[in-house]
C-alpha cells in the first residue's frame, strides 16, 4: 500500500512527510514505530522484573547460581528407574527425575494412542450400542479435570488392603496398596546378553523375510503369507538360539521370577512390582488423554471422502480391510498433527504425578527448592520441558515434511 502512494508526483512536501506521505500516516513508519515501542516496553519490563529479583536476591542473601548441582541431594526419590542413592548429586537426581517423566510419557503415549484409536473407531461403529458407549466414555473423561480423576484412582488404590493382607491371585499376582506385583523374566548373566543379540537378529531377519515375501506377492500376485513367514522365522531363530545358549552356558538366558512375600511385614521381593504411584498416574493419564485422541481419530476418519470407502467396498474389501488399508492411511494425515500435540499434553500433564506419589520432574524440582536455589532449578526444569516440547515439534515437522512429497 505504501508503494502505491509513494509514486504519486503530487505528494505533499514538508518537514513531517516521508515519500510524500505525512509520517503519522505512512504505514512503514507506523510499523517501525510500533515495533520499536513494543520492543522497548518488553525489554524494559523484563529488565525491571529481573533487576528487582536480582536486588532482592542480593539484599535477602537468597542463594543463586548452579554450584549446588555437584552437591549431594541427600533426599530419597520414591520411584526411580535409574539406580539412585541419596548421596548422588543434584544434577544426577534431576536426571533420574527427568527419566521418570520420560518413561511415564513414552508408556502413556503408546497406551493412550492405542486406546484412543480403539475408542475413536468404536465411536463410528455402525452398532448403536458400541458407538454410544464410546461416546459416553469420551464425553465423561474429557470433561472432568485430570487431577480429579487421578485422586479418584489414587484413593481407590489407597483403600486396597496393605501389603500383608493384600489380594493374591493364583499365587502369582499380588495386589495391594503398594502396587501390583507380577512374575517377570529375570536376566542371568552373560547368557542373557548373548540371547538378546540373537533375538534382535531374529527380529531383523523376520523383518527382511517380510519385505522379501511381500515384494514377491505384489509382483507376482501369488499369495506368499509374508506375516506368517516373518513370525515363523523370528520365532524359530529365537527359540533355536535359546536352546543353544542354554546348552552351551548351562543356564537359561531368562528365568521366570515370581513375587514372594518375605519377612514379618510381607514385603514382596522378586517378580516385577508396578508401584502404586506410577500405576495411578498411568491409568489417569491414559484414560484422560485417550478420550481426546478418540475425538481426533473420529474427526480424521470422518474427514476421508465417503467415495473412498465405497470404492474400497466395491473392490471387495471387508469393512475392516477398507478401514485398515484405505480409510486409516488417509485419515492419518489429519490425525497426526493434533495427536502429537495431545502427546505433548500428556507429557506436561505427567507433572501432576507428584499429587499421587510419583516422583517426576516437577515434583522433585519442587522438593529441591527447599535445599537449593529455586531460581536456578526453575531455569533448569523449564529448559527440560521446553526441550521435550521441541522434540515433539520436531517429530511433527518431520512428519509434515514427509507427507508433502507422497
Amino acid at each position: 500500500m505504501a508503494e502505491t502512494q509513494t509514486g504519486e508526483p503530487g505528494g505533499k512536501k514538508g518537514l513531517f512527510t516521508y515519500q510524500g506521505v505525512a509520517v503519522w500516516r505512512h504505514s512503514r513508519i507506523i510499523e517501525w514505530a510500533l515495533q520499536i515501542v513494543s520492543a522497548v516496553v518488553v525489554v524494559a519490563l523484563v529488565v525491571w522484573f529481573f533487576t528487582n529479583i536480582a536486588n532482592e536476591v542480593r539484599d535477602r542473601e537468597i542463594p543463586y547460581g548452579f554450584e549446588f548441582l555437584d552437591r549431594a541431594y541427600q533426599t530419597p526419590i520414591g520411584e526411580h528407574f535409574l539406580p539412585y542413592e541419596s548421596s548422588d548429586s543434584f544434577l544426577y537426581a534431576l536426571g533420574v527425575a527427568a527419566t521418570n517423566t520420560i518413561i511415564v510419557s513414552i508408556v502413556g503415549v503408546v497406551l493412550a494412542t492405542a486406546l484412543g484409536i480403539i475408542v475413536g473407531v468404536a465411536r463410528l461403529s455402525g452398532n448403536w450400542l458400541v458407538s454410544k458407549i464410546a461416546q459416553a466414555y469420551v464425553e465423561f473423561f474429557r470433561n472432568v479435570p485430570l487431577l480429579v480423576q487421578l485422586f479418584f484412582w489414587f484413593y481407590i488404590v489407597l483403600a486396597l488392603p496393605p501389603v500383608r493382607e493384600g489380594h493374591v491371585l493364583g499365587g502369582l499376582l499380588y495386589i495391594n496398596n503398594a502396587g501390583i506385583s507380577l512374575p517377570f523374566p529375570q536376566p542371568a548373566g552373560a547368557e542373557t546378553g548373548a540371547w538378546i543379540i540373537l533375538a534382535a537378529l531374529a527380529v531383523i531377519s523376520g523383518f527382511f523375510a517380510y519385505r522379501l515375501l511381500s515384494a514377491r506377492e505384489t509382483q507376482t500376485g501369488r499369495p506368499s503369507y509374508p506375516i506368517w513367514a516373518a513370525m515363523t522365522t523370528a520365532i524359530v531363530i529365537g527359540a533355536a538360539g535359546w536352546l543353544i545358549i542354554s546348552f552351551i552356558g548351562g543356564e537359561a538366558p531368562l528365568s521366570m521370577s515370581s513375587p514372594e512375600p518375605q519377612g514379618r511385614f510381607g514385603r514382596i521381593s522378586g517378580g516385577w512390582t508396578i508401584r502404586a504411584g506410577l500405576m495411578v498416574l498411568l491409568v489417569g493419564l491414559v484414560i484422560y488423554t485417550s478420550s481426546f485422541i478418540a475425538e481426533i481419530v473420529r474427526a480424521g476418519i470422518q474427514s476421508v471422502n465417503r467415495g473412498q470407502i465405497e470404492a474400497a467396498r466395491a473392490l471387495g474389501l471387508t469393512p475392516m480391510g477398507a478401514l485398515r488399508s484405505v480409510t486409516f492411511p488417509q485419515a492419518l494425515r489429519v490425525i497426526i498433527p493434533p495427536l502429537i500435540s495431545q502427546c505433548l499434553n500428556l507429557t506436561k500433564n505427567s507433572s501432576l504425578g507428584g499429587a499421587v506419589g510419583y516422583t517426576e520432574l516437577t515434583n522433585v524440582a519442587i522438593t529441591m527448592t527447599q535445599t537449593a536455589p529455586a531460581i536456578s532449578i526453575f531455569i533448569l526444569i523449564m529448559a527440560a520441558y521446553l526441550a521435550m516440547s521441541l522434540t515433539y515439534s520436531l517429530v511433527g515437522n518431520i512428519y509434515n515434511y514427509r507427507i508433502r512429497f507422497t
Partner: protein, 420 residues
Amino acid sequence: MAADTQAGGRPPATPDIPPPRTETGAIGWAYANLFNSRHNAALTVLVGAVTAIGLWFCLKWIIFDADWSVIATIGGRFIIGNYNTDHACPGNNCFWRPQISLLMVTTLLGMGWGIAAGGTAKRVAIAATAIIILLAFLPYSLERMGWDVRLLLLANAPALALGWALGRYTPLGSVRWIIIFTVAGFLIHLLLMRGIEGVPALQPVAINQWGGLTLNLMLAAAGIGLSLPIGIALALGRRSRMPVVKLLCVAFIEVFRGVPLITLLFMSQVLVPLAFPEDFPLDNLFRAAVVITLFSSAYMAENIRGGLQALHRGQAEAARALGLPGWQTTMLISLPQAIRNVIPAIVGQFIGLFKDTSLVYIISMLDVLEIGRTFIQGNTEYLSHAKELFIFIALVFWVFTYGMSYISGKVEEHLGVGRR
C-alpha cells in the same frame, strides 16, 4: 400421492400395504442399528451383556454400598470454602455476600434469556436457576442451613424474572449492556467478597480464605474474559509482518505452551514476589489468575491463528480492494470469520481453562477439589468413602464443562458454521 394417481385416470389404487414390522418402530430400529449383520448381532449381545452387568453393579453400589454422607458433611464448603468460618469471618455472617453474587449471575442469565428470546438461553437460564432453587430444599437441619440462606437461594427466582424483564422491555436489553453488567458485576463481586474496612456488615475477609467452587468459577471467568483478547492480539502479532513483534509473540507463545501449568504456578509463587515491592498487594488469587490467563492465552493464540490461516486469502484481498484500511480488514473481515470457524477449539480451550483451575492446589489455594481432598486427609474415617467424594466433584466439574460444550454446539448451529 394417491390423489394424483386418481386424477390421472388410472384405476383406484389398492390401499397401501403397511411396511413390514421389521422395518418400522422399535423392532425396525433394532434391526437397523443393532442386528444388521451376524457379526454386529454377536457384538451387540456381548457388549450388551457386559454393559448390563456393569450397570447392575454400579447401581447396586450407588444405592446400597456407597455412603454419600461425606458430601453432606462438607456441604456448603464445596461452594465457598472456608469463607464463612469463624477464622475467616468472625460471627459467621458473611454467607450472604457470595449469595448476592449468585443473584447477580441469575439476573444476567435472565437478561440473556430476555434478549435471545428463548431457545438455548431460556433452557440454560431456567435449568441453572432451578438447580440453585433446589439447593434451598436440601434436607439440612435449620442450624446447618438457616432460613436466611434458604430465602436468599429462593430469591434467585424473582431475580431471573427481573433480568428477563430488563432484557425484554428496557433499553438495557442488548449484548453490549450484558457485557458491561457482567464486568461491573464481577468487580462488585470482588468488592463484596473482599469487604470494606470500617463498614460493619462488610468486615474484610482475607483473600486466602476464599475457596470452593466460587474460586474455580472466579478464576475461570477472569481467565475466559481476558485470555480471548490477549490470544487474539498474540495471534495477530504472530502473523504480522513486523519481525520484532512477531518474534516477541512467538517467544511468548512457545514458552507458555512448552511448560506445564503447575510449574508456572509454582514459579509464580517463588519468583514473582521477589520482583515486586514487599507491600505490593500480590495475593495468591491474583497471581493464579494472571498465570492461568497467560497460559491459556498462548493456546488461544494458536487456535485463532489456525482459524486465520484457514481463511481464504481472497477475503482479505477483497476487503483491501474495497478500500478498507489494514486494521479494518482484520477487525471486520478476517477475525470474525476466523473466530466463527474455530469456535469449537476456543470453547475447548475455555473448558480446558476451567479444568485447569483445579491445579491451584499447588499454591495452597482451597478450590473445590482441594476442599474435598483436605477433608479426606483430615478425617481419615472417610478414607474408604473418598470414591464417592471424587465422583461427586467430577460430576460438579462435568456439569459445567459439558454445559459449555452444549452451549457452544448451539451457538455454532445458530451461526450456521459449516453450512455457509
